[in-house]
Amino acid sequence: MSDLFTYALRLGDDALIAAQRMAEWIAAAPQLEEDVALGNIGLDQLGQARSLLQYAGSMDGRTEDDLAYFREEREFLNVQLCELPNGDFAHAMARLLYFASYQHLLYDELRASADETLSGVAGKAVKEVAYHVDHATQWVLRLGDGTSESHRRMQAALDELWPYTAELFESDDLVRRLPVAVDPAGLRDEWERRVLAVIDESTCSRPEASYQHRGGRSGQHTEHMGFLLAELQHVARSHPGATW
């Protein structure tokens, strides 16, 4: 498997699994405006996933659906942050702040990639995720500095998801040797600066250094991932060879 294939899959799987979780909010959000907003965000993520999986698939004769529906759990390369169950709305916004801030820095740099497809996807996506960051930021501020209950929940969410953030910036041989890729290790400082500024303004305290989960990039996931995939894949797998 080529490095470029694996790289496109990593980014595509992040977006796909994030979209799958985001979509669970539709018809369950705290207010109707938020059903619409989270639906938009999920659709953006799904759109990014499709472009990236189509690109990966074009390298070995598979379709986006072959990759989404017919790979096994160990072949999915997304970070674990994206697959965790939704939790409450504070968790949704903490995850979106962490993830979209990372994606924003990543896509911003990827725009300059010598790979035209990657730079094209990044050029479109960077605008979308700028909105996701903004949406998450507004909510983290409201919840952190809202009521005592919302503050408590926001703090808990920021703390619980923090241990899943180091994985976003994990570097490895692949990203170091693939010239068209962005090495995420280089994004860490700016990410922290931005995210911590939001957390400070929200009146929450900065999460403490803690155990950091790893493994998504090599297909080792949390126990939640199998259930997520079972749901995502089951209809497609029940009708082998069918088109939809």
Binding site: A27, A29, D65, D145, T147, E231, L232, H239, A242, W244
Partner: protein, 314 residues
């Protein structure tokens, strides 16, 4: 308002209705007109948001990424329809929070069609084709409704509903030309959704309670039975294109009238579902109430934050 100016205002209301012009929020209107509209628009808005559930049920399992994206966008459109409609109702002097409360406490209804379960992927096709299709038949005349804000909301909604209808048809078309398993799934969905779709036009004219006054006020333009007939005439040829069988042995095309004669649905089932005795009534309402209650702390936080910001700005 004095008796005389009240009488004059009502004359001008009637003149507007008679001229087939639009009543706007600031215009005087009879109390019954306002109440009827609030009830109807709220029920319509509630239907849009409850309707997100049966379809939302399949987003996570949509069998291709393209279909997943289309379905997400559709369910999101329905949330948007809910928003426009609550906004239209608010022009009549009620607010969304109170209307939602009426929904949550069972004092206002939503379309009974959403009390049926979505059991297979083909149901997503059947809902788009039949349920959005029936909604279009019901709603196109509402684009000429005498109340301006409702009529304008309907214009926007109808455009999107016709996309939904086409997408639903396309889902079923793909299934009905697919594997035997997919074909069976499509037929099963039509078998289950046909009768409830016919019920979407309400009781037969002979036993419809609100119709006459609504017609006089230009809120309703066609009778339930007329609209049901229009739906059948539109849908049966489409079923033929799909190669699916409409589950009605009494269905015959009448060359003379140019209409299909068809078997009426079992309206006692409709009355039961309206009363609360349908397969998903409890689940739909419980899911809606849970989303609302789970979100209470979020809405309170947003209000508290906005108040603090105002204070800081002052």
């Amino acid at each position: 308002m004095s008796h005389l100016s009240y009488a004059r205002a009502m004359d001008s209301f009637q003149a507007t209705i008679d001229a087939d012009s639009r009543i706007e929020p600031r215009d005087a209107m009879p109390d019954g007109y306002r109440k009827t509209l609030i009830r109807q628009i709220a029920q319509h808005a509630h239907s849009e948001i409850i309707g997100m559930q049966p379809e939302g049920n399949w987003i996570s399992r949509a069998p291709s990424l393209r279909r997943k994206a289309i379905l997400m966008a559709k369910v999101q459109d329905e949330a948007g329809h809910g928003l426009y409609l609550y906004a239209a109702a608010e022009t009549l002097g009620v607010d969304r929070a109170d209307l939602l409360d009426m929904l949550h406490t069972g004092r206002q209804k939503y379309s009974s069609i959403f009390n049926y379960p979505t059991l297979t992927w083909a149901d997503i096709g059947a809902i788009g084709w039949l349920v959005d299709g029936a909604a279009i038949v019901n709603q196109v005349p509402l684009c000429r409704c005498s109340y301006g804000p409702y009529a304008r909301a309907m214009v926007r909604v109808c455009k999107e509903e016709s996309f939904h209808q086409r997408q639903g048809f396309e889902i079923l078309h793909t299934l009905s030309t697919g594997t035997p398993g997919q074909q069976a799934m499509a037929q099963d969905a039509l078998d289950r959704w046909w009768w409830p779709s016919l019920m979407m036009f309400g009781p037969p004219d002979a036993s419809s309670t609100h119709s006459e006054q609504s017609m006089a006020w230009g809120i309703k333009r066609h009778s339930n039975d007329e609209l049901r007939q229009r739906f059948v005439d539109m849908t049966v040829p489409q079923a033929d294109v799909l190669g699916l069988r409409v589950p009605d042995d009494g269905l015959v095309y009448d060359e003379v009238t140019g209409h299909y004669s068809f078997t009426q649905p079992d309206f006692t089932e409709l009355y039961e579902v309206v009363k609360g005795n349908g397969p998903c009534n409890e689940k739909r309402l419980a899911t809606r109430v849970k989303a609302h209650e789970d979100g209470a702390w979020v809405r309170e936080a947003a209000a508290a934050y906005a108040a603090k910001q105002m204070e800081r700005a002052a």
